[in-house]
Symmetry: C2
Subunit: 416 residues, 2 copies
């Protein structure tokens, strides 16, 4: 396949200028067309997906990878409905905030505008092709999608649904560019195209994200990992704390908002840890315990320094007894991944202090870390979670794909 | 001089955690101490500055560089008063916005927090040492300041005023780190310290900014150049347009918000350009004119493709006649530097369309480009101007040195 990624990015830039100006109505019409096309094209999409699955089997993909790759009639319908949900969300573009008059007499406000062109680099999930395209289009951005080679046929079949939707609504099909060759060299070139791409969002393992962050000339949204903590304060309601622990650790394990470390104040350890141990044992959770907590757990493994940094993504947890509230904060300052931290406490001052002191992307008092998700926090669909503080911090919805420009209205005003 | 920049950045990170939690009152007390110390230490600062000026003379610095380097009793007082103005501004840290209750029952809001540690890389102006430190401290950030070697003695003398202010207010002096060696290798190492530095703001020539952007592993605020445009629409009030042209081009020339290109609608060219030519001649402005406008100017130079990209920073302007409103927009899409663009028009629809279509950082109708400045737009002091859309776009005040985290309040809520 012969093509130039540089040319494709330039075409996306040109198309994005048109897209930035279209009405919400038009953008929503495109989104509905995409959803409708997906449902109409289901047989073709499944056929393409079948090809990817066969290749995957031949290449010995893991069960987990095969599972992420697989589409069904019902999963296609779910993805289409998610696109309709995005269409139903408010359009952030064009809203003006904080209009005020300066001493000079000029009126100044800020207007929300699209970022321009966004590149997504992702691995084997074909649903990202549609989700990311829909969110970027909603925010008025062009998008370059570079998915994994395992999903190439599925991605190209889904891309057809997008291209047809754009064209049937009289928009440039280059608003969305699905890179037809997942070659590494092409990805490397993509990361240098800072003239035509404004932001890169990598989704995948830590290795991919680190590679993109260190090599890109374009700003990158970083989401390394979620080592989420629950700190059970000495003033905690133990029943609530236990329920937060169970929900955070056992409801779903392979997600970044699952709990990975439990910190327990020493004054409540003797009463709380036996209950915690019983519940964790019941759910077959493997425990890595510090020397002051290991006695409470049957079959626990001594925790090492590495455990405090570990994102298990499994029925596994690190447990540490801390001497004080401040000791808990120190642990977080040393080991937090910047994702989500929770305090369980009934003490007003400690709750306030925790919320103020801990600067992870999501800080909670008496709520499950599992709420750390764009949908649960009221953003609608999420394009990713940023664990670095620049531009966006935490779950990113449509608004995070926009920025604000200054608008100045005068009547011949000049500066004195 | 032997020191480790890596160690210094780590110390700034640790100090910044303390700083993130202090009250506005304490931060303002530090700022007032800095201002007072500067006034008390004026003789020492001037002596250090004298040394830099002598070295500068020996090394043959240009007059412009020497001028930027020079401090006087009165300029020191001005800088001190600017610090007091920053103290008087509102503190963005800690404010919570958009608190709402989700269906699940949790309450969700966003709280403004400091970014962490910011590195400034700048050239010969010693006032940046104080301005940048004051703005970063106000926003609760640690800061690493790497100024130019020409200003080293001045910067170290000013640093003493900051260190004393921090210590007399019981704060860690490492909240502000003034790098004592402007060696290039140390700057290069600084750009790799992404564990301890969250943002780099380079201030200086395009070469410096491009070098930092392409080599940094830390996010960079980019401000390449300001090629500001005035588009005189066929429906413009010619007297107002002329006044915007005069103010934008001639009030101050060496600044990024000065006008560099004039676009004129063909239907108003015959009436507007003779007036413009007379005014520009009177101010001795050199004109680079397109073939359709060159006849109006005495001694104009034919404009080349390069002129449309040029930031003259001098009494020099490029002039182009455009066929239509859309042609003006096309010119901007091709040549805008993303800084500031102005339309002069009395037509409501054209003003609206311009404001909506042009996505530079500051877009104006009937106001001088010279208003494109943090102070004039109501931000108070400005730490820089971003011409890239990520994180901040346009003039950046204290709020741009912060981010927002999610805050979630529950009462034992778990996810279903």
């Amino acid at each position: 396949m012969s093509f130039s990624i540089k040319e494709m990015a330039k075409k996306a830039r040109i198309a994005s200028r048109q897209l930035a100006k279209v009405t919400s109505q038009k953008k929503n019409a495109v989104l509905h067309s995409i959803a409708d096309n997906m449902e109409q094209q289901t047989p073709q999409i499944l056929k393409a997906n079948e090809k990817d699955l066969e290749n995957g089997q031949q290449n010995g993909l893991s069960d987990a990878m095969m599972d992420r790759l697989k589409l069904t009639e019902s999963s296609i319908r779910d993805i289409a409905n998610a696109v309709r949900d995005i269409a139903a969300q408010a359009d952030p573009v064009g809203s003006i905030s904080n209009i005020h008059r300066e001493e000079s007499g000029i009126e100044v406000g800020k207007m929300r505008i699209p970022l321009g062109v966004i590149a997504m680099i992702y691995e084997s999930r074909p649903n990202v092709t549609i989700d990311a395209a829909a969110l970027c289009l909603k925010a008025g951005n062009g998008v370059v999608l570079r998915g994994g080679k395992e999903a190439l046929h599925s991605n190209l079949a889904l891309a057809e649904c997008i291209y047809t939707a754009l064209e049937s609504n009289d928009l440039d099909r280059n608003c969305v560019v699905v890179v037809p060759d997942p070659d590494r060299a092409i990805m490397n070139e993509l990361m240098t195209l800072n003239e035509d791409i404004d932001l890169i969002i990598p989704r995948g393992g830590e290795g991919l994200i680190r590679f993109v962050s260190e090599n890109s000339r374009i700003p990158v949204i970083q989401h390394y990992k979620g080592v989420c903590h629950l700190y059970v304060d000495d003033k905690a309601d133990e029943a609530k704390a236990l329920s937060l622990l169970q929900n955070g650790k056992t409801q779903r394990t392979g997600v970044c908002n699952a709990l990975e470390t439990l910190l327990v104040h020493k004054d409540i350890a003797a009463s709380f840890l036996p209950m915690a141990a019983a519940m964790l044992a019941e759910h077959k959770v493997k425990v890595h315990a510090c020397e002051n907590s290991i006695g409470y757990f049957d079959g626990a493994i001594p925790a090492t320094e590495e455990d405090w940094d570990e994102e298990y993504l499994a029925l596994e947890i690190a447990v540490r007894v801390v001497d004080s509230f401040d000791h808990a904060i120190e642990h977080l300052e040393a080991y937090s991944s910047g994702h989500t931290e929770v305090i369980a406490t009934q003490d007003y001052s400690n709750a306030q202090k925790f919320i103020r002191s801990v600067n992870s992307a999501v800080v909670m008092a008496n709520a499950s870390s599992r709420f750390s998700d764009g949908g649960q926090l009221g953003l609608g669909a999420e394009i990713g979670i940023s664990t670095s503080k620049l531009h966006a911090y935490g779950p990113m919805g449509v608004e995070s794909l926009t920025t604000e420009k200054f608008v100045v209205l005068g009547d011949g005003h000049i500066r004195q």
